[in-house]
């Protein structure tokens, strides 16, 4: 099992060794509730607040602008649902894109049932939101714009600075889902016109169970999970301090190593893309090429075959990949992201995402390039669509 190849880092990552070691004492030894008035509480609170500071520093925020949540999904839900009431006089119109994560899209669908109106901005064939489209979509009653930083399926990096400026000029709250980009792309909220930004630790080699929402000072947000006085009364529930402390360490390391890591990984990415194109006919790349693509993301559509078959074959060889977002793997409809960039259902069904990470090597890329063409050939030979 040790020579399995994990290529699904966009779904989740392993906790890296340094983070794991750093977290360990907090389960059994320093386990106190950070809200408690005793030494057990004080010692965890110290580390909890240090993690808040680290995370704030990593993204150019102030510590008090960082609110801890249990996940990126919770942060997304909260960002959106939390600001509505403060804007109720202004209106009920929200703008987002067609390629958001389900954490955003399903939240908005729920809101539509409650009388909110949502505009879903289209994207171009590479997966980019056009700032002009945002301008056109803004109405007098627009209260919130939610656009992701980098797409989890096709890796397209959105022009959030430009989009944010437009929101700012129009006095509209701007939420950014940075779950895929945090720790991978530089984020400096001192200069980015963003009001709310979601993070999730398990995407950057931190533990599951910790996320964060940046809430810019002055942005009014209502609590979604009410309870004790945690997070200045805005997010109740005993802190999962272990995970939060791990998140701080993980983001710190990710930001430290960002440049070097991206250089290495984007090279692997391009080798993988080029290699697949050389070896497999009738294949297309989903998402852009180059700097506007997440360094770790490869997403291709392979004509005439269906994605799950590829996954299963790869899995039998110890290679873990995904076909669209992991979260949608139980679903039967093809990815909404792939449809949004103009793919037909048929082609969308044949998509494969390979998301690279810290542990991957050139040997892993070679292995994929060696086995995938054979798998494709095999599946195509069974396909009634293929006239090979």
């Amino acid at each position: 099992m040790t020579d399995r190849i994990y290529l699904d880092h966009a779904a989740t990552t392993a906790v890296r060794k340094e983070v794991f070691d750093y977290m360990l004492p907090f389960f059994t030894e320093h386990f106190g509730n950070p809200m408690s008035v005793h030494s057990f509480g004080r010692e965890t609170k110290k580390y909890l607040e240090a993690a808040r500071e680290t995370i704030a520093n990593c993204i150019g925020a102030e510590p008090r602008e960082i609110m801890f949540t249990s996940s990126g999904t919770e942060a997304d839900n909260w960002a959106i649902k939390g600001v509505l009431k403060g804007q109720s006089k202004k209106g009920k119109h929200i703008i987002t894109s067609q390629i958001e994560h389900h954490a955003v899209l399903h939240t908005l669908e729920q809101l539509e049932q409650q009388g909110y109106e949502v505009t879903y901005l289209p994207v171009d064939r590479e997966g980019f939101v056009d700032p002009d489209e945002l301008k056109k979509a803004i109405r007098k009653d627009t209260i919130l714009v939610s656009i992701m930083h980098a797409n989890n399926e096709i890796g397209a990096i959105q022009p959030i600075d430009e989009l944010g400026l437009i929101c700012k000029e129009n006095g509209i709250i701007f939420h950014v889902d940075a779950v895929q980009s945090a720790g991978v792309l530089p984020i400096d909220l001192k200069h980015l016109p963003v009001d709310l930004l979601s993070l999730s630790a398990h995407k950057f080699y931190g533990p599951k169970g910790a996320g964060a929402l940046f809430v810019r000072k002055g942005t009014r947000i209502e609590s979604m999970i009410s309870g004790g006085g945690q997070e200045r009364g805005l997010r109740g529930g005993t802190h999962n301090h272990v995970a939060i402390i791990g998140m701080g360490k993980a983001l710190e390391l990710a930001v430290l190593e960002m440049e070097e890591n991206n250089k290495r990984i984007s090279k692997l990415r391009d080798q993988l893309i080029d290699g697949l194109f050389e070896r497999i006919p009738e294949i297309r790349l989903n998402g852009p090429r180059g700097d506007k693509r997440l360094p770790n993301n490869v997403n291709v559509s392979i004509k005439y075959i269906e994605g799950e078959g590829m996954l299963l074959h790869l899995d039998m060889l110890g290679i873990a990949a995904s076909s669209g977002s992991a979260c949608t793997s139980g679903s039967l409809d093809p990815s909404h992201v792939l449809l949004a960039i103009g793919l037909t259902h048929e082609i969308a069904h044949g998509s494969l995402r390979l998301s690279l990470g810290r542990e991957n090597t050139e040997a892993d890329v070679k292995k994929v390039l060696e086995v995938l063409p054979e798998i494709v050939k095999n599946l195509r030979s069974m396909s009634p669509l293929y006239e090979g």
Binding site: Y304, I305, E306, G307, E308, G309, L312, H313, M316, G330, L332, P334, T344, H345, E346, H349, S381, M382, S383, P384, L385
Partner: protein, 145 residues
């Protein structure tokens, strides 16, 4: 997906892949939009299915059920074959995950359409099999959970 060993076996080593040039009956179900297309070819001699082959575009379960249905059907009379239910196909595979049960429906329906095709071409009385032409979405809907 939690596929049984049997499903994985039929997926990795599908039986009877291919086309039959002069098939006596051909049944096609599903469409690319839905992510599943099964095309089933059968050869019939003296009312007995003597050969069956398939081509399938679809997930692991779609390929495995296609493979299994060809195995089940070879050697059966038309009457026996018509009675092969989707459950029988799934059972023969050691079960299917709930979200994949529609694949077994697809396979059973493809078989029924191939038989219908044969009967139709040969002027035999046909069952009311038109409702087989269900879109994948109907099949997906039957999935519980």
């Amino acid at each position: 997906m939690d596929y049984s060993d049997k499903v994985m076996d039929h997926f990795m080593h599908p039986r009877n892949v291919g086309e039959i040039k002069d098939a006596d009956g051909i049944g096609e179900m599903g469409n690319a939009k839905c992510g599943d297309i099964m095309k089933l070819y059968i050869t019939i001699e003296d009312g007995i299915i003597t050969d069956a082959k398939f081509k399938t575009f679809g997930c692991g379960a779609a390929i495995a059920t296609s493979s299994m249905v060809t195995e089940l059907v070879i050697g059966k009379t038309l009457d026996e074959a018509t009675k092969i239910s989707n459950k029988a196909v799934a059972d023969a595979l050691g079960g299917l995950p709930p979200v994949k049960m529609h694949c077994s429906l697809l396979a059973a329906d493809a078989l029924r359409r191939a038989i219908y095709d044969y009967k139709n071409k040969n002027g035999l009385p046909v069952d009311d099999c038109d409702e087989c032409e269900t879109c994948c979405h109907d099949h997906h809907d039957i999935v519980e959970e």
